[in-house]
């Protein structure tokens, strides 16, 4: 049951993309998403897809993990597809069944929107698959640092995020253990009506919350004992540094952007 919740889906590795500065990867992902929106035709999408697949292959991560991220939003994609298919009524009619009319333009828009959604998800998958959650928060903190001038609590938010990320696996482990312990006492989490199942969660949730609060208290004490007092003046063990590779990655993204704009300009399919 707990197996199908994957939050930290980082795949450790040592590829070019793995070694990039997390800030580069964050910015590149934002840029990629922007490029997906810039593209106006399938040729652009094809190019972007080729780029993303090439990146994925270079990291050594199996493509099935890239696809797996689509599962949770499959419903949205299908919904978008059919919405566009049935309600875009311009263009030449292809099929007419009862009150439903499918036109060539509708089909095109539907496919276009669905592809765009898929590409958006796959691009962000590439980021989370190759960047550890901790590196990700470090990168975010560093990117949002400048906003501290306008009292945006970048450090605090990043700290909360890294603590949350650090404890998600621990809590999942604990939930698994408690669940087994209660099952050993004859608890049944799997069958029964909705109300019964909700009730069955009590023996799981109470110990889980008690444990979470205990951990939070311990952690707060441990941080206090080591004189933690917020982000001001803190140095880090792992300094983020842009290198030559980051420049190369930036250039690759720019090139992709230029190519997509070019395809738009010549109105390729």
């Amino acid at each position: 049951m707990l197996k199908n919740i994957t939050l930290g889906q980082y795949f450790p590795g040592d590829s070019f993309i793995h070694r990039l500065d997390p800030r580069t990867k964050l910015l590149a992902t934002v840029a990629l998403i922007a490029i997906v929106f810039v593209a106006q035709g399938f040729s652009g999408f094809l190019l972007i897809a080729a780029f993303v697949v090439a990146c994925a292959v270079s990291t050594g991560i199996h493509l099935k993990f890239l696809i797996r991220g689509l599962k949770p939003i499959m419903l949205i994609i299908i919904f978008t597809f059919f919405l566009n298919l049935f309600f875009q009524t311009g263009g030449n009619e292809l099929v007419h069944i009862g009150f439903l009319r499918i036109t060539d333009q509708g089909l095109r828009t539907a496919a276009f929107m669905a592809t765009r959604l898929i590409l958006l998800v796959v691009c962000s998958q590439l980021l989370t698959l190759t960047t550890s959650p901790i590196a990700l928060t470090d990168g975010l903190e560093s990117l949002f640092r400048p906003l501290e001038a306008i009292h945006f609590p970048a450090h605090e938010i990043a700290m909360m995020m890294s603590i949350a990320l650090r404890f998600i696996p621990t809590l999942m482990d604990e939930a698994d253990k408690i669940m087994k312990a209660q099952k050993a006492r004859g608890a049944n989490f799997e069958t029964g009506s909705l109300v019964q199942r909700a009730k069955a969660m009590v023996p799981l949730l109470v110990p889980l919350f008690v444990g979470a609060f205990r951990r939070a208290e311990d952690l707060a004490l441990a941080m206090d004992a080591r004189c933690y007092r917020g982000g001001a003046g803190r140095t880090r063990m792992k300094q983020l540094k842009f290198g030559k590779n980051d420049l190369l990655a930036g250039l690759a993204i720019l090139l992709l952007l230029a190519a997509v704009i070019g395809l738009n300009a010549i109105k390729a399919f």
Partner: protein, 288 residues
């Protein structure tokens, strides 16, 4: 044969980069009324093994039989198995959740569908069995109790299901010396009442003192098995896999190495003391 395990292999998270083989080709059998110890270094697969013994985990290949019932069969009634095989997890005090101790202990029997009278009778008996006074603790919140008391309540929660096989994962972890002694006395008492006991532990001293038979796990495989005396013979090899033999067994071996007449395979404090006394009196006799 109450428990029989054949060729059990378990892999965590197969097909991912985090794949970890926790058990490989484990076979063992546990007889009625035995007190069995499972011992191994951290991460050797002890906890994984015992979660297979009441069907919480299931893996292919491998079969686990409890009283002749194959736990891997689809139509096996696992609730019925869990009523026979009681499992007390490591740090069981963290599974308490009810408002009162009595309600928490009643959780298992309630899940078995017993009637109210039977449940309250079982709760009383189980609390007494673990050395708690039902009158004074029943209505308390389990969260008010001390760590050792919480653990007793958790064990009572399993005992209230009246299992004929009781498995305990490191029951003495984190207790002080007197708490450990009480815990072992408690377990010995449960065993004496006719329950087959399987105890997981890190400590050779503890399993040596209590168990009839030991299984030593090393990296998911059974490295040694047999009576404590048979296992403790492998002192240096046990040392190499991160385990130790009881202090008294070590003392006996060193005395034997130094030329004293110490019998092989003694490890109990009493036996070693007696052997030393024998040596001393023999020498004394020779001198006079």
């Amino acid at each position: 044969m109450p428990i029989e395990v054949k060729h059990l292999t378990h892999v965590y998270m197969p097909g991912t980069p985090f794949e970890a083989k926790a058990l490989s080709e484990v076979s063992l059998s546990i007889r009625d009324g035995e007190f069995v110890g499972i011992i191994g270094h951290t991460g050797s697969g002890k906890s994984t093994l015992i979660t297979h013994l009441n069907g919480l985990e299931h893996s292919e290949p491998g079969v686990v039989f409890v009283n002749g019932v194959d736990l891997g069969e689809k139509d096996t009634d696992l609730i019925a198995i869990r009523r026979v095989v009681g499992l007390v997890f490591q740090y069981p005090e963290y599974q308490l959740f009810e408002e009162t101790v009595a309600k928490d202990v009643a959780f298992g029997p309630t899940n078995l569908g017993l009637d109210a009278g039977e449940i309250s009778e079982r709760v009383q008996t189980a609390l007494k069995q673990v050395g708690l006074d039902p009158a004074s603790v029943s209505e308390k919140s389990p969260f008010e109790l001390s760590g050792g008391q919480k653990r007793r309540v958790a064990i009572a929660g399993v005992l209230a299901m009246r299992p004929s096989i009781l498995i305990l994962d490191e029951p003495a972890a984190g207790l002080d010396p007197s708490g450990r002694r009480d815990m072992f006395d408690l377990i010995r008492g449960i065993h004496a009442s006719g329950v087959t006991v399987v105890m997981v532990s890190h400590s050779m001293d503890d399993v040596g003192r209590l168990c009839d038979r030991l299984f030593v796990l090393n990296r998911g495989e059974i490295a040694y098995s047999g009576t404590p005396a048979e296992v403790f013979v492998h002192e240096s090899k046990l040392h190499a896999i991160g385990l130790d033999v009881p202090e008294c067994a070590k003392l006996a071996r060193r005395l034997r190495d130094a030329g004293f007449d110490m019998p092989e395979g003694i490890y109990r404090t009493e036996d070693v003391c007696a052997a030393i006394m024998d040596n001393l009196t023999q020498k004394g006799d020779a001198k006079c």
